[in-house]
Symmetry: C2
Subunit: 583 residues, 2 copies
């Protein structure tokens, strides 16, 4: 059982049969056709030679197939991670082609190692600290950056930049040098791919194809763009018109080799590798979760770390760059009926065959076509509605998403994610440091106590019932203490303060000190401090201290019991009984 | 009123009379006598000439007196801040005396500016993020470092180090060079001061002094150590025996001047200035709080920032180093009967008189005496009981205190504080990311629902009542979602899941997404999702979304109503009524 959990292949390979084989093979064929242009394009986006995209789409799929826990995830180069790769290596300064490739493979190795380490130490939960607004904002901003960065290939100009302002100003400055031949290829392909996203399916439906086949076939649209534009480039000899073509691509499979472990390079790239790992992991896990849920399957985040870690190391040793589970390709894989990770392994074989037999045909492929593929793919990622949604919902979420988008666009991808996470954590801590507190009273005819400002409730002059809507910990202990003293000035007849602790999940040592000081100061003013509705785990901790002994009042099971006990005691002489926690 | 709040002097000066004048004058005399050796000693600890300690004890007291909100706080050089000053300037590498002093005054200026900024932007709450275990651990570790660093003056050797291991190894290596004459001064003074802490008061009591006078007079013990050891050094010509003496001290008041604003120095010191400001602020505010509470007075943290900021800038322009409100001196000031900040202003005058008239007498003061003063003062700060207390109380507090102490001793003061804060925040976030959740049932005969594992309660097979003991936010949204699905496997007959939200103080956008997905997946399995005991602020936010419309179950005012409504509905045909939030 444990071995099966560590090596998911053991569980699915046992139930493998002819039916699953056929499903997997069919899915593999469709994904392969979709992947060829995509992997070439993402290599281009990462600043690498086109064939590196193919290399990153072979071994990683097999490695993930052996270790990963998702049955539908398709691993390989993806847009956001390719952008981050380009950004990380770009920061090293100008490099030769070989140095650039060496940095990319090292980045994949470091990412893989980091993912494996996280998996071994079961740190998958760390991804939870990226909130949805941060992730959504980051993906959207990255999509905008990627789309803008690819415009230069459509226009046939040389414009670069890591940030939106530098990209746009560079594009504008070069606009006059637009190559009309490149544009004549780029624009039609772009239009075709846009149309293919919806129109191709409708067309196929009119040809009498089933909805299922039409959907899947329409996903292979890019390959037609590749074929037609390559033929056009060859026929019209566009290379003589300065149209950028992919050019010579080495035929065959990549040589396996450990990437060079230069220490200086290592030191410059490790932080970027961590960013790439985390973003890649989050993207992959969210896709994996979505697809698994549709089939009532499960994925294990820690197992995913191992699968993705192995995939990146496999990419590195086969001359590739960082990879992860992609959204578009995984959905196609799922829709095409992939039943097990074997589909990924078959896809790897398909890509390998393409690398052996089809690479000579890529010489005439215009880079504009690949750029168009990328632009159409990433425009689907851009969704600014999260900004409006967050604005309507909550100020903190809004600040987090705006911080992430703004910094990603203006400073860079790593700064964007880092500041987004920092902003969301800081805002969360800030909120919990100044918690909501409500004076409560009895909802007539029930045992329930609610906010006196929101409900018509019964209160008693000598009793101040206060609900603290937060755990008591160091960041809010002082705030709560001050707030109680301030409230006592508004309620001068108070003889009993009852803290209703329904929302108090923790009382740490700093908060205990604050409670002791509150108890002491109230005692000096002849006011008793009571606690009600303490939870079991909190009570367990308090029992280890002498606070309950010092407490001037009592601990009550419920707010209702607290109030009725105090009122009953007020009618007879005070006996100063000990804290009661009998039930 | 607002002006009075901004300038506290306006409120206390109005009620100033002969009685308060006499109290303040008396307190000022006692504090002055106590302060002379202390301020010389802390200048020595900070690595500065002795007179700088006097300079830092004049203008800062006046500046604080005008702006500060505490009536008893005594501002000036203190042990921990002096240590941090030495550590910050030591990190710049070897400096000449003038350069060192310039760095110290710049550090005071930067600290002052930072404190003022924090005050203007009302950021006093930031100090709350230092938990009590972190503060206690830091003060204890600093005390150990300070005491060890002063041993070299008692032994008359040259031993330095920023960390405990380097200090100790340096001390051990130099132990052979101990100067017997220095030791012959240092040890008796040290013993006298130790005895004076308790013994002197007892002796004075036997002489018939009142408890009050005996307590105060015993605090002036150090001045006798200063006088006697100076006389001994002069009489026996100890300077000829290589006993380190304070030597020439310029007579008179410091010249006022803006510190030199070297940009490179500025850039190297600003981070240290922030650390010094925050630690100084926290120390000062906690003393101020304690003393104010004894007289039912209040201090305002944001006003304190302004007062301390002004004090540091005043120190800087009068050739001093960073200052803050000190514990020992403030307690003496309070005990001596200081009624208003005028006592501080009188103290400043006393120190000024000392600087004018007494400085020639300091030439023969042995540094060993000052070191003994420091050692006795800081040993009172060392309290390792916090480690045991935290160990018994809670693992997180224990980790925070041990991290702080260990890193302060082994790496340095700034690393110690920074890692302590980081550890306590991380542990807090980690805990809230994996919240406690309890399956609850009805406590028989009441409307209360408690943990089924802790109480004998009534449950229903088709209803899973789940209390989530934490706000729902991005860091725990995924955890809670997984946990609910896992629980459903343990409770296979569940038809209704009720999330009891007594402890849910917030539902952020990420958590809302999780709730929507839980609702959707439960709906697919024909299980309804209900919410109970939602708080007003949370309900307000949810009403802005369409989640309540999608919810397969209802929102109930209380858990009890939720369960009874579901059971009642189970007995009649289901009407699929809309969410109910009528009460």
């Amino acid at each position: 059982m444990r071995l099966e959990k560590a090596l998911p292949i053991l569980s699915w390979s046992r139930e493998y049969n002819r039916g699953t084989l056929i499903s997997d093979l069919l899915a593999a064929i469709i994904v392969t056709i979709m992947l060829i242009p995509q992997s070439l394009a993402y290599a281009l986006l990462a600043g690498l030679p086109a064939e590196v995209g193919l290399y990153a789409s072979m071994l990683p799929l097999i490695a993930y197939g052996l270790l990963g826990s998702s049955r539908s995830l398709s691993v390989g180069p993806v847009a956001v991670v390719s952008l981050m790769t380009a950004s990380a290596i770009g920061a090293l300064g100008p490099l030769s082609g070989d140095e650039y490739l060496a940095a990319a493979t090292l980045l994949a190795l470091l990412s893989g190692a980091f993912l494996l380490l996280m998996g071994v130490f079961r740190l998958g939960f760390l991804a939870n600290f990226l909130s949805h607004p941060v992730i959504a904002g980051f993906i959207t901003a990255s999509g905008i950056l990627i789309a803008c960065s690819q415009l230069r290939h459509i226009l046939g100009i040389d414009a670069h930049g890591e940030t939106l302002p530098s990209l746009l100003s560079s594009l504008l400055a070069e606009l006059g040098n637009t190559n009309p031949y490149t544009l004549a290829i780029g624009l039609p392909v772009l239009s075709f791919l846009f149309w293919a996203r919806n129109g191709l399916k409708r067309l196929l439906l009119t040809f009498g194809l089933s909805d299922y086949s039409a959907t899947l076939l329409s996903k292979t649209g890019p390959i037609f763009g590749v074929i037609i534009s390559s033929v056009a480039a060859a026929v019209f000899q566009l290379d003589e018109r300065q149209v950028a073509l992919v050019g010579f691509v080495p035929q065959g499979l990549p040589a396996l080799a450990m990437p060079e472990l230069s220490q200086s390079l290592w030191q410059e790239l490790w932080l970027s590798a961590i960013f790439i790992s985390i973003i890649g992991f989050v993207e992959s896990v969210s896709v994996g979760h979505t697809l698994a849920a549709k089939k009532r399957q499960k994925i294990s985040p820690n197992q995913e770390l191992l699968g993705l870690g192995a995939a990146n190391i496999a990419s590195s040793v086969s001359g590739g760059f960082p990879v992860t589970g992609g959204f578009a390709r995984s959905v196609v894989n799922f829709d095409a009926g992939a039943e097990t990770p074997a589909a990924g392994i078959f896809t790897a074989i398909g890509i390998a065959l393409a690398a052996i037999f089809l690479t000579p045909l890529l010489a005439y492929l215009p880079k504009a076509t690949l750029a168009a593929t990328i632009i159409v793919a990433v425009l689907a990622l851009i969704d600014l509605s999260i900004v409006k949604k967050a604005w309507n919902y909550d100020r903190s979420d809004f600040i987090a998403v705006v911080t992430t988008i703004t910094l990603t666009l203006l400073v860079g991808v790593e700064a964007g994610v880092a500041c987004g996470v920092f902003a969301s954590l800081t805002l969360h801590l800030y909120k919990t440091s100044q918690p909501h507190m409500a004076v409560v009273g009895e909802v007539p005819g029930t045992e329930h106590y609610r906010n006196i400002n929101r409900h018509r409730v019964i209160t008693h002059d000598e009793i101040l019932s206060l609900r603290i809507d937060e755990s008591l910990y160091f960041a809010n202990a002082g705030f709560i203490e001050d707030r109680i003293y301030a409230l006592l000035e508004d309620y001068p007849h108070t003889r009993h303060v009852i803290l209703m602790c329904t929302a108090v999940n923790e009382i740490d040592l700093s908060a205990l000190d604050a409670l002791e000081s509150i108890n002491q100061r109230l005692k000096e003013r002849d006011i008793r401090l009571h606690l009600s509705e303490l939870k079991g785990p909190v009570m367990d901790v308090l029992k280890k201290t002498d606070f309950l002994g010092q407490l001037s009042g009592q601990v009550h099971l419920s707010q209702h019991l607290a109030v009725s006990t105090i009122i009953a005691a007020g009618k007879k002489p005070d006996t100063g009984s000990a804290p009661d926690w009998s039930i």
